[in-house]
Amino acid sequence: MLLKFRFAVGLGLLLWLGMPSAWGAAGPLDGDFQIRSAFVVIDRGVLQLNVHVQYPINDRIRSALQDGVTLAFDLELNITRHRRFWLNAGVVDMTLRRELTYHAVTDRYVLRDEQGVEQESFPTLEGALDKLGRVEDLPILVESQLRGEGPWLVAVRAGVRRGRMSDTMRALMFWSDDWHRNSDWYTWTLTL
């Protein structure tokens, strides 16, 4: 009985020590990735989001883009109303999704929205990421949607992942696809 207990403890320790080191291995999206600033302004009753995101940039990203990989950039916004004796009530839960590709024929980095309606190209990756990282005056809701009394909690998080991959390929790449990373949540209290 004692041997079994020791075996179980040993195995648990091994997993505990081994798993973080495996998860902490260098990934393709390594680099400074954080939300530097975020705030909401109210312009004529419309709440507009302003976010400055520092996206990671390295040679692997550049090389992957030039090889034809499409990167998806998500900006998640979450607004909840604080309730003292119950779970917070959700007000807004939205995601701004954009894609960045490298256009080999024109040698430009193309930034487009999820539907591919809006498109913009940049001669440099830095320029494209700088554009991606600056979200200005993005309307998120009208003031009247904020029912009841505050405070309201606003949380913003940015994410990067590999986009435009088929479901089959995504399933097959389950064990080896490390092209996804999220920033920490950036939260603040919204007061009107």
């Binding site: 992957a64 030039q66 090889d67 034809g68 990989v69 499409t70 998806a72 998500d74 995601t95 590709t101 490298y102 256009h103 080999a104 024929v105 024109t106 040698d107 430009r108 193309v110 487009r112 591919g116 309606v117 809006e118 498109q119 190209s121 001669p123 994410g159 992942r161 986009g163 435009r164 991959m165 479901d167 089959t168 390929m169 995504r170 399933a171 097959l172 790449m173 389950f174 064990w175 080896s176 696809d177 996804h180 999220n182």
Partner: protein
């Protein structure tokens, strides 16, 4: 909850965890592949669930292996068969699995590499270069055109400028031509689409490029797959030909055919490049998946082998355990039926066998108990029999005997073992030795059935037995015989006593009556005739009548003695000290015969006895007289009287022992010394010891006579000290009486 239930719960919980983790991971994976965001969110959980499932499976397998190892180490029945089965299964599975695994690995490497062939990559790169070349040519052409156009604008302002822009736009099929002034504002615009709004400011990089005096050119892809070429050139001053910081921006549209071709190349190249980036991860994924599948297959095969082997050997283990239980005598073992196959038939046969064995065992047990009961009953009967019983064979090996046999023969059976030779049980008893000699002789002569009287000499006199021999019914060929014998010595003595009693009564009746007339007649004759006779005749008459009277007195005494012997006892019981009476009688004889040496050895702890004092006095007097008379002519003759207390048959008896150092009893009369008219003395009447024996019997006691080894006679008298002891003594003697009756 006991340990077994806890283990069972653990195994079931682990199995449930493994299955639940696998199902949950599968569901999450299926749901997440349709949504890339969900996939990103759930991937760690899917990974964790898979790890949990694998860990649970590994734990189950490890437990199975440990169980197998423990069973093998402890030599548990069936463990070797299980190990052999597992090794065989493993061996059968591992070899093909490894071959398939290696081939599959090679196939994956080659197959995936073939998807990304160098030729395709090179072709796509060439197409890309070609597209770029074609577009570069267009770019250069549009750039030169823009530069020329910009030079043509250096003197134009206002409407002329607008007219020139429109002409140029129509001539070149440009989408839009805008002239920016030094402040970066659009000062003139010509567009192929009606625009109401103010044109957007020029991109910063355009202004920077132009401000540096260089021509700006850019090829821009559009969302609809079209390309535009944006060119900008500074407009020189009309006088100095220096740049005025004004510049013209022309947006040309690439021809649709060229755009479509370039876009197709771009799309294909991008897709191919995208796929190329996953080549190595894809190979790794396939390798990992293949390895996991092979590993899982191997583990599942081993687990299945262990499970199947244990399932197969479990009935065997049950059979072994059942066989051991049957070997230990537990016939109630019932094994569970595993299935309806051959093993099930075997288990069913085993159960049937144990059922029959149990019935047979119970039957045998009942028979054994019945035999045992009969044996115990027979043993009780034999032990209570006053008849001696000995079962033996022709080699005189004892089969069984009762205590009465030992008592009668004077041997010591103790707890005789079956098969022990009878000679070893004789214990120096002369009677037993003579008995065995007689028995051996008869059996050797071929006799196995008789019924006779047998006289056995002994230290305390002869014993007469009535013995019979019968062969055992089932052991005639083995020579087994049963010998039954009774001691009829007392019976014969009683018969003699009865005969002598009758003789005495007749003598008293027939002889005593005429004696008195004879004596009276003789005295009358003497009185009548004595006076008329002469002296000589008178003297003769006197002597004759005197002799008659004297002899008649003698005859009267003899008749009185007979009368005393035959007289029915009239006991007058009283408590008195036996030691005192012995001393008193001894003193009387010392006074009568000073030469007589009488020694006393009396037990001071002897209690008073309840007896007829007069008869006990007569008993002592007869014994002392007998002893003194036996010492006639013996130098240093001595009669010793001793008393002691003895517990016999549960009763307390006073023992009187009278010994002398005379010649002892003659051997021929030793067995009959207590019979009337049996005497070893020339002048004895032969009634002294007979009367002693009668008195002892009247008091419920026992008397024995024997010769002392050192010479002389020894008479031992046992008298119960009280009526209660007499009753107990009589109970102990009852078996002797029964023996007498049977005889």
């Amino acid at each position: 909850m006991d340990t077994h239930a806890l283990r069972l719960f653990g195994v079931r919980a682990l199995t449930a965890v493994a299955v639940a983790a696998g199902v949950a991971a599968l569901v999450l994976l299926a749901a997440s592949v349709e949504n890339s965001t969900l996939f990103s969110h759930w991937q760690p959980w899917i990974l964790l669930l898979n790890i949990c499932g694998v860990m649970a499976l590994m734990a189950l397998l490890a437990r199975k292996f440990w169980q197998l190892y423990r069973d093998f180490r402890d030599h548990k029945p069936g463990s070797r068969l299980t190990v052999r089965t597992v090794l065989m299964f493993g061996g059968l599975v591992i070899a093909p699995l490894i071959i398939v695994y290696l081939f599959s690995l090679d196939f994956i490497n080659r197959g995936i590499d073939s998807w990304f062939r160098v030729e395709i990559k090179q072709g796509l790169n060439d197409a890309l270069v070609l597209s770029r070349s074609a577009l570069d040519l267009r770019l250069r052409e549009q750039t030169r055109r823009t530069e020329i156009f910009a030079r043509s604008l250096r003197e134009l302002r206002g409407p002329e400028l607008l007219q020139r822009l429109d002409e140029e736009r129509r001539a070149t099929e440009a989408k839009e031509i805008i002239v920016y002034d030094a402040s970066g504002r659009a000062s003139a615009l010509s567009s192929d689409t009606p625009m109401a709004q103010q044109p957007a400011p020029a991109p910063p990089d355009v202004a920077l490029q132009v401000a540096a005096g260089r021509t700006y050119v850019s090829l821009n892809p559009l969302p609809d797959g079209q390309y535009t070429i944006a060119t900008a050139a500074p407009i020189a001053d009309a006088v100095s030909a220096r740049a005025t910081r004004r510049y013209v921006l022309i947006d040309y549209e690439v021809p649709q055919e060229l755009s479509a071709l370039a876009e197709a190349v771009q799309h294909t190249s991008s897709q191919y490049g995208d796929l190329s980036t996953v080549r190595e991860p894809l190979k790794n994924t396939f390798r990992l998946t293949l390895t996991l599948v092979v590993l899982l297959t191997l583990l599942a095969a081993i687990y299945g082998a262990i499970f199947s082997a244990q399932r197969l050997t479990r009935p065997v283990q049950d059979l072994i355990a059942g066989t051991r239980a049957v070997g230990k005598g537990d016939f109630g073992t019932r094994l569970p039926l595993p299935s309806r196959d051959e093993m099930g038939f075997l288990v069913h046969s085993f159960n049937d066998m144990t059922k029959r064995l149990r019935r047979a065992s119970e039957e045998a047990k009942r028979s054994r108990q019945a035999v045992e009961r009969e044996r115990e009953r027979l043993s009780v009967i034999l032990s209570r029999l006053s008849t001696g019983v000995i079962v033996t064979d022709r080699e005189l090996r004892l089969h069984s005997a009762n205590q009465s046999a030992a008592t009668i023969l004077g041997g010591d059976f103790g707890n005789p073992e079956a098969g022990q030779n009878l000679a070893q049980l004789a214990g120096g008893s002369m009677r037993f030795a003579t008995f065995l000699d007689e028995l051996r002789g008869r059996l050797k002569s071929g006799l196995d059935e008789w019924r006779e009287q047998l006289t056995l000499p002994g230290e305390s006199g002869e014993r007469v037995l009535l013995w019979a021999c019968t062969p055992l019914p089932d052991e005639r060929e083995h020579g087994g015989v049963v010998i039954v014998f009774d001691d009829i010595t007392a019976l014969l003595a009683a018969q003699r006593d009865a005969a002598w009693g009758e003789v005495a009564r007749r003598l008293a009746h027939e002889i005593k009556n005429p004696l008195t007339p004879i004596q009276l007649s003789a005295e009358r004759l003497r009185r009548k005739l004595l006076g008329g006779m002469n002296a000589e005749d008178a003297q003769l008459l006197e002597r004759a009548t005197h002799t008659i009277v004297q002899q008649v007195d003698a005859m009267k005494q003899m008749v009185n003695a007979f009368s005393e012997y035959a007289r029915a006892p009239a006991m007058r019981l009283a408590h008195f000290s036996l030691n005192g009476l012995v001393t008193e009688v001894a003193e009387l004889y010392r006074l009568q015969d000073p030469d007589a040496e009488i020694r006393l050895d009396l037990d001071p702890t002897l209690p008073e006895i309840e007896a007829d004092r007069g008869r006990v006095r007569q008993l002592l007097a007869n014994l002392i007289t007998n002893g003194i008379e036996a010492l006639a002519g013996v130098a240093d003759g001595c009669v010793e009287l001793s008393t002691r207390q003895q517990r016999a048959e549960g009763a307390i008896a006073a023992v009187i022992c009278v010994r002398d150092n005379g010649p002892g009893f003659r051997k021929e009369i030793l067995g009959r010394v207590f019979d009337p008219y049996v005497t070893g003395k020339p002048r004895g009447t032969g009634l002294g010891l007979a009367i002693v024996k009668r008195i002892v019997e009247e008091h419920g006691g026992r008397i024995e006579a024997e010769n002392r080894p050192e010479g002389g006679a020894k008479i031992l008298v046992l008298l119960p000290v009280s009526d209660q002891d007499r009753a107990l003594f009589a109970g102990g003697e009852r078996r002797v009486e029964l023996r007498r009756e049977r005889a």
